[in-house]
């Protein structure tokens, strides 16, 4: 769409910018909130999945007869009798080839969980083991065993994106800094393991599941099962955190097949071990960044190259590999940039969408290299970023997108301004709050303190086509109907605030319907930090239209011009005058009024991006290698903030989560067997509350002209700057640079040992 002029509304906002209490707060605090695993249906069976003990094998046969002979075991499904649908382009529902330790082999349903578990032991499977590969770089060798037919480089070619010429850019440089960094795969470790309940009524299937998009789940279920989309109803329960990776339908497809065979409802809930191994985790990466700078600190070229381990299946890998390059291509003002992305299959658990996809991995390498480039040019890290960060005008170059076309959400081309860009404000206000210039590294015994910073860029919120409905109901109440899912971030609350603002009523008056394909219009998944922005635009349009329709209707009823009317509480009244009609009367007279608005978000004038700058103070214990983050400042440009409390929660959550990625978490695969060795809360080393520092959150004073009421994306950006800010701070504190995450004590001690060996 053509970008409208910025909001010129002169009266202060009533609902926007208020910390409305999140809509599900009471039910979550009292334990009444329902999750998928809380669904119990009459005669419901429990399903369990047999998982591969081998990293790569052909399944020669599966004999389920002994399991099925057990009283109380009601149905089974094996690769040899499964419907031939797919759950993803490279994944059958059950395959005769397994590709990682933990891959699905077969499933069964029984009267209770113990029986189902016991019955799994009775499934006789004959495997023919195949050669396997667990390392992404090895997987690219021509001699590596192929995980899928066609080789291990997904798509057959790397993703190569170049603006200008990096060769020319490096020729212009006085210094070139270059290094390779690695990041581990880590699990989101959601408290709620994924779960699904499936029940058939004749040919109609209902599925309750942890979901981040009921309409997409409905489509995928219908494709996998070969049933019409209309025959599938998906109900999204509360989400016990998903961080992006509960976007799959494997459990629900298996539950649906078992339910059909048993003619009874079936629930499958992943165990904690399964959630770690067969859930989806952040992709491990190796990233090389080469940056050219002039003596005055000007960046002349950036070339990043990422090898990314997608594990046994593609999942959202193609999106993730692209996102890993966005920092290198767009964060610094530079005419010559290039990104090469290699997405590789290995015989390890599958990567998937995880908060900000590849952006944290890419920015980690980029922002550690940026500190080195600053040093090479004799500049302070802050000064270097102030000099080089991309400004409101966007990248140098010429626009190639035709004038009236919507700009890509992560464009390569230059010559396109940002709709808004508060990056400089983030850097300046963040540095001020942190006390960057006054900070002095300190040492006390083995404890050393240092400071670090990082900046970042991310997609700003335009997503898929969004639809929202607004209704004035018979009782005179308002109902917002939307197909998006609140995945825990609070989008139901934020969207209600947008509806309230557009209607001119208080947020408490908005009732809502979400998360059920039977009752809501089609909607994209809650992904890419798009929900508030994209669904919000549709809600804003629908609510504004409903307001106009109500005022029109009241104008007819009262015989006064609509322009003199306003909604006050539960009635429509003249602003100056006595004529009034209650909303309930209006609704009973004219019948419920419903409007639907569909929006394809985006702008043909601007790139819409969110930005931020993070600052960390760390204390490293040189005796033990332990790193403690003692202070953290996170400054964000996410446009106008709809709900400050929820927004601060998002930033604190994103930072805390990625402190795990930076300092302790990783999925460890046994190199000899391909087995995941640490699939537990204990050994995955997710941080506890004791690890979290106080986080000061700052929002730039930016109102975006494209987003609803000036809002931009916020869900994922908080996770991007954490690793480089902390790793840069560790360098400042002890003079060593951790290039391989996580920065666990063993890594710190090994690096200290390299610098000054003290051991025999």
């Amino acid at each position: 769409m053509k970008t409208a002029p910025p909001d010129t509304q002169s009266k202060p906002f009533a609902a926007i910018g208020q910390s409305a209490v999140r809509r599900d707060l009471a039910e979550k605090l009292t334990g009444e909130a329902m999750y998928a695993a809380d669904v119990y249906l009459p005669r419901m069976l429990i399903g369990k999945i047999l998982r591969s003990p081998h990293p790569h094998a052909k399944i020669v046969s599966v004999d389920a007869s002994h399991a099925l002979a057990l009283p109380g075991v009601c149905a089974a499904v094996t690769p040899f009798d499964v419907p031939d649908g797919k759950i993803a382009p490279d994944a059958l529902i059950l395959d005769t080839e397994v590709r990682f330790v933990g891959d699905e082999v077969a499933a069964l349903a029984a009267e209770d969980e113990d029986l189902a578990r016991h019955a799994l032991d009775l499934l006789r499977v004959e495997y023919e083991t195949l050669p396997f590969v667990t390392d992404a770089v090895e997987a690219m060798s021509p001699h590596a065993p192929p995980v899928h037919p066609g080789g291990n480089l997904a798509g057959g070619n790397p993703l190569t994106l170049e603006r200008g010429s990096v060769e020319e850019g490096f020729d212009q440089a006085d210094f070139i800094v270059e290094d390779t960094f690695s990041t581990p795969s880590h699990s989101g470790a959601a408290l709620e393991p994924r779960a699904a309940v499936a029940a058939w009524e004749d040919d109609r299937l209902t599925v309750w599941k942890s979901s981040r998009g009921v309409h997409q789940d409905q489509l995928l279920l219908s494709l996998a099962l070969g049933v019409p989309r209309k025959s599938v109803r998906v109900i999204g329960q509360n989400m016990g955190a998903g961080y992006g990776n509960k976007d799959e339908t494997r459990l629900s497809v298996l539950a649906a097949i078992l339910a059909r065979r048993a003619r009874r409802p079936v629930k499958i809930e992943a165990s904690r071990h399964e959630e770690f191994v067969a859930g989806r985790h952040r992709h491990g990466t190796f990233t090389t960044v080469k940056m050219g700078v002039k003596r005055d600190g000007t960046v002349t070229a950036v070339h990043a190259s990422t090898v990314m381990d997608t594990g046994a299946y593609l999942s959202s890998g193609p999106g993730v590999i692209r996102r890993a390059g966005q920092g290198a291509l767009y964060l610094y003002r530079c005419p010559n940039v290039r990104y090469d992305g290699y997405l590789c299959y290995t015989n390890t658990p599958s990567g998937g969408s995880y908060r900000a996809l590849g952006a944290p991995q890419g920015h980690f390498a980029l922002e550690v290299i940026a500190d080195r480039a600053a040093k090479a040019a004799g500049m302070d890290a802050l000064e270097f970023r102030l000099k080089n960060h991309v400004g409101p005008e966007g990248q140098p170059g010429e626009r190639t997108t035709p004038a009236n076309e919507i700009i890509d959400t992560q464009p390569l081309e230059g010559g396109i301004p940002f709709s808004s860009n508060g990056l400089r404000e983030c850097i300046e206000r963040g540095a001020e709050a942190f006390g960057w210039s006054q900070f002095q590294p300190s040492a006390e015994g083995p404890l050393r303190r240092g400071k670090g910073m990082a900046i970042f860029i991310y997609r700003g919120g335009p997503g898929g086509r969004s639809i929202a409905r607004m209704r004035l109901e018979a009782a005179g109440s308002f109902r917002l109907v939307s197909g998006v899912m609140d995945v825990g971030e609070g989008s139901y609350t934020a969207l209600s605030q947008i509806a309230a603002e557009s209607l001119g009523v208080s947020v408490e008056r908005i009732t809502t319907t979400f998360g059920d394909t039977d009752m809501t219009p089609d909607s994209p998944i809650t992904a890419g930090s798009t929900a508030t922005f994209s669904a919000g635009l549709a809600v804003k349009r629908a609510a504004s239209d409903l307001r106009a329709r109500i005022l029109e209707s009241a104008s007819k009823a009262l015989g006064v011009p609509a322009s003199t009317l306003d909604i006050f509480g539960a009635s429509v009244r003249q602003r100056e005058g006595a004529a009034a009609v209650s909303l309930a009367d209006l609704a009973s007279r004219s019948g419920p009024i419903e409007v639907e608005a569909a929006i394809s978000p985006g702008s043909s004038d601007y790139v819409v991006n969110s930005f931020g700058a993070h600052f960390a103070e760390v204390e490293v214990n040189t005796d033990t290698g332990e790193t403690r983050v003692v202070r953290y400042v996170a400054a964000h440009d996410s446009g106008r903030i709809i709900n400050p409390r929820l927004a601060v929660n998002q930033v604190e959550g994103g930072v805390s989560q990625m402190l795990g990625f930076t300092l302790s978490e990783q999925m460890i695969t046994d190199p000899m067997s391909g087995a995941t060795l640490n699939a537990s809360f204990l050994e995955h080393k997710s941080p506890t509350i004791l690890e979290y520092p106080d986080i000061e959150v700052i929002f730039a004073d930016v109102a975006d002209p494209v987003g609803p009421y000036g809002a931009k994306a916020l869900g994922e950006p908080p996770s991007i700057g954490v690793a480089p800010a902390v790793i840069n701070a560790i360098r400042d504190a002890v003079g060593i640079e951790v290039k391989d995450l996580p920065a666990t004590p063993d890594r710190i001690l090994d690096l200290l040992d390299e610098r000054s060996p003290t051991t025999p």
């Binding site: 330790v101 332990e626 046994d670 809360f681 204990l682 003290t758 051991t759 025999p760």
Partner: protein, 328 residues
Amino acid sequence: MRPFQIHTPATLSDAHAALLAGDAAIVAGGTDILGETKEGIISPSALVSVGDLPELGGIEVSASGASIGGGVTLAEIAGSADIARLYPALAQAAASVATPQIRNVGTLGGNLCQRPRCWYYRSPLFDCLKKGGDTCFAVSGSSKYHAILGGDGCHIVHPSDPAVALAALNAEVEIFDGSGFRRLAIVDFFVGPSRSMISETVLGHAEIVAGIVLPPPAAAARSVYLKAKERRAYDFALASVGAYLEMDEDIVANARVALGGVSPVPHFAAEVSLALEGAAAGEIDAAEIGQLAVRHARPLSDNRYKVRLTANLVARALTILTSDEPPQ
């Protein structure tokens, strides 16, 4: 998981009798054995609950030392003013275990008898030496958390924190064998892989840890327990040190240093004790003593860091004990 029975005997003798039958196992707090049972690492036919036996309760302190029942929880030990005053290393070790929830139910006896955390041992996919197999998978696999000392074929580390403090404090373990009690030094209670591949203690069939006995600390004794880990709660030791120092004026009269997280049994560093005894406090080179403690270290491919870490912890412990620096 195989179904099992739960027995709740009223007396220690009854508990012993219940353990004699079949392949029963002892449960107290259950923080370890239930995990092992659920994972199918062990499949006992019955669990005999001893945590509430009166004979295993209580912390008693007298002029002749202290005794702590095997059923006393780690939280009770960590919260005891007497233990904190007389045996600070033990109080610190108990407080460093896992999480408040686990310390509230986990017992001293259970903590001493818990099984290794080695991820090959804990995974049903690996038939390792401890489970009667013929391979230690850590040797060519991932060995970050494994042993650097005394890994004789099997490279587990003993997971107990209190055991390390107790070794430094020269505690004895009291064992009930059905007919009576016997005591042995805590370092002799544990057995390494060269003596037993499938057990980490001397406990025989149906024997129960009744408690521990501590000698009275000397007037000028100090002790400390230091534990390095990857997060500040809910973590086992990467390495730990329990150190006890008894001073006679300015001279070290008696020193005991034990290491945790580095060997299949809590490691008593005899040569460190020897090197310290008779030294003047002001002349101790803590860094050098730290090096001495790891002189015989043989790290695997992923745990070389433990050598430096352990040496540093020993040095830090001695610095704390020989200075006025308050223990952490």
